[in-house]
Amino acid sequence: MDSTVSPTKASGRAPLPAPAGRRGPSRASRVALVTVVLVVAVVVVAVLSASVGQFDATPRQVVSSFGRGLFHSLDGQRSQVDTVLWNIRFPRVALGLVAGAALAVAGAVMQGVFANPLAEPSIIGVNSGASVGATLVIVTGAAVDTPWLLPAAAFASALLVTLVVWALAQGGGKAAVLTLVLTGIAVNAITASATSFLIFLGDTSAREEVIFWQLGSLADASWSGVVWMSAVFAAGFAGCMAIRRRLDALALGDASATASGVNVERLRIVAILLACLLTGAAVAFGGVIAFVGLIVPHAIRLLVGPSHRHLVPLSALGGAVLLEAADIAARTVIPFADMPIGIFTALAGGPVFLLLLRRTLRGHGVGAR
């Protein structure tokens, strides 16, 4: 073999085939464009969301009332429109924006940690894990006196479930994708049965609260909820922004990431804590809203590439837009009815997940790599 081939010099090698890439050098300019589009979209869906519902307000009224409430006091000149907007709509819009951002950022970080685009919190059982803790708090009535107990319990049980999934899905090698999804099915089944048992133990009012909450809805939004949610989001988001550039290295695999100077164990634990904090808070205030963390980062990756430097902040904007749009749909598809928002995100997310699953398995799953 070798003896028949003349020694090849370094300079004598053939060039590799010409690139057939579908992407020019434009990733940087796309980031700017996508950022502008998403910021505009956030404002548009927020105004639209505040103006639709059982009591119609024009977008002009929304903007005017928002401006007056923000810069002057509304005392004394409060109209009926102002009352509806400031007591019901605005907190709901704010909660939707922040919860959507939290879910999408958690999804982006979780996928980075698992180096797997399918690692959506609801698939691997984080959401249903959070709901076990939250249900426990609701059923025992502990949340009535101490309002922070609900998000704390949701966070703690989300964390527990994520750590279990992480431990079980380790060492999957080539079958890592399947392992993750199958582990998620098992974990979801276990947490669902735990939640069902707790519902069984609860009284009627607790049951109603849990069921409403499991479907996901922003209808219960209050300013105190918005303040809590925003505080947790601010902390979690700041943490994710701080670690985001190191997350890129995990795509190389643990060994290469370590050799590139990234403390993989520590980064992974910090990232999982942050993702659970964000998911737990969103679940505590908005109920189980699935797939936002799958759809949004996937779409952003298609637009600007997988680099977490842009993926994390843009996912926050995209998540806010998606959840707010879903909430508009929840309030308008059936007139005079407030549908659970989780129906819409799952309706959009299910097909996206199937598509991604097919592509990932074809790419490097059970088949040849």
Partner: protein, 265 residues
């Protein structure tokens, strides 16, 4: 000695199996050391200990005189760049983005990332592929990308640099494999200590200064190429007749092929 990387009497066991057994190997500055041996001899595990990704059950690994266990991941990464056998990347990063990941350990120092990355792409001949997504590349191109990332991480190459490569050319065609190994030699000329796991004994004999021959996790022989690459030793370790011959002052190693149909290519 404060340069290079040394493994002193390292062993790795998993369960009842001993994968690496009391192996002592040193990768010295300015030298290409090739680790060879049959499948399952423990080559990748040995390199993994040197790379800091496999913790030895006993024995110590020292990078430039420092015990690896006491060295922070970041500081180790500034001295030592590693190319693993598996060059897959989980997301659709571009070739340029992947190569730029080699600069992660240098981020808090002022360094011209763009220039270093461009240089690494140019020397590996990847400039025309820099905006392609790695997930769309062939196996050989992906390996070349991983190699370019290692080159970027090892910049600037000094006598303290250590570069570890686990079968860097396994998926490459012969032209790219030769060019890559020539680049590896150039890195050693600039002072780096290079550790190279290879399946191709002939390539090891041609490009390495020293060879470490592993068998069942033990160092069977180690030293300059002519000492280790002896027909009798290799034939015994690999369990198949292997011939070694000198042509134009260079050792050539290959299997003895009795069936004449197989001798052509």
């Amino acid at each position: 000695m404060t340069t290079g990387l040394t493994l002193a009497a390292v062993s790795v066991s998993r369960g009842h199996r001993t994968i690496v057994d009391d192996a002592s190997v040193s990768f010295e500055a300015g030298t290409v050391t090739s680790v060879i041996g049959p499948n399952g001899a423990g080559k990748s595990t040995l390199l993994g200990i040197a790379a800091g990704t496999v913790r030895p059950t006993s024995g110590t690994a020292r990078l430039g005189g420092h015990d690896l266990r006491r060295l922070s991941v970041k500081h180790a990464a500034r001295r030592r760049a590693v190319m693993p056998q598996d060059a897959t990347v989980a997301f659709a990063f571009t070739v340029r983005e992947v190569v730029a990941m080699g600069r992660i350990p240098w981020r808090d120092l002022k360094s011209d990332v763009d220039r270093v990355v461009s240089d690494a792409l140019a020397t590996t001949g990847l400039t025309h592929l820099q905006d392609r997504e790695v997930t769309t590349l062939s196996g050989g191109e992906r390996q070349l990308t991983a190699f370019a990332r290692v080159v970027a991480q090892a910049t600037p190459v000094t006598e303290e640099s250590v570069i570890l490569l686990d079968e860097p050319t396994a998926a490459m065609d012969i032209a790219h494999a030769e060019a890559t190994l020539a680049l590896v030699r150039a890195l050693a000329r600039r002072g780096a200590a290079v550790g190279l796991v290879l399946h191709d004994i002939d390539a090891a004999a041609a490009y390495a200064d020293r060879v470490v021959l592993l068998q069942h996790g033990r160092v069977r022989a180690s030293g300059p190429v002519p000492e280790v690459c002896a027909s009798a030793t290799l034939s015994d370790v690999y369990g198949t007749p292997i011939e070694v011959f000198d042509r134009d002052g260079r050792l050539h190693v290959g299997p003895v092929r009795r069936d004449p149909v197989c001798t052509g290519s």
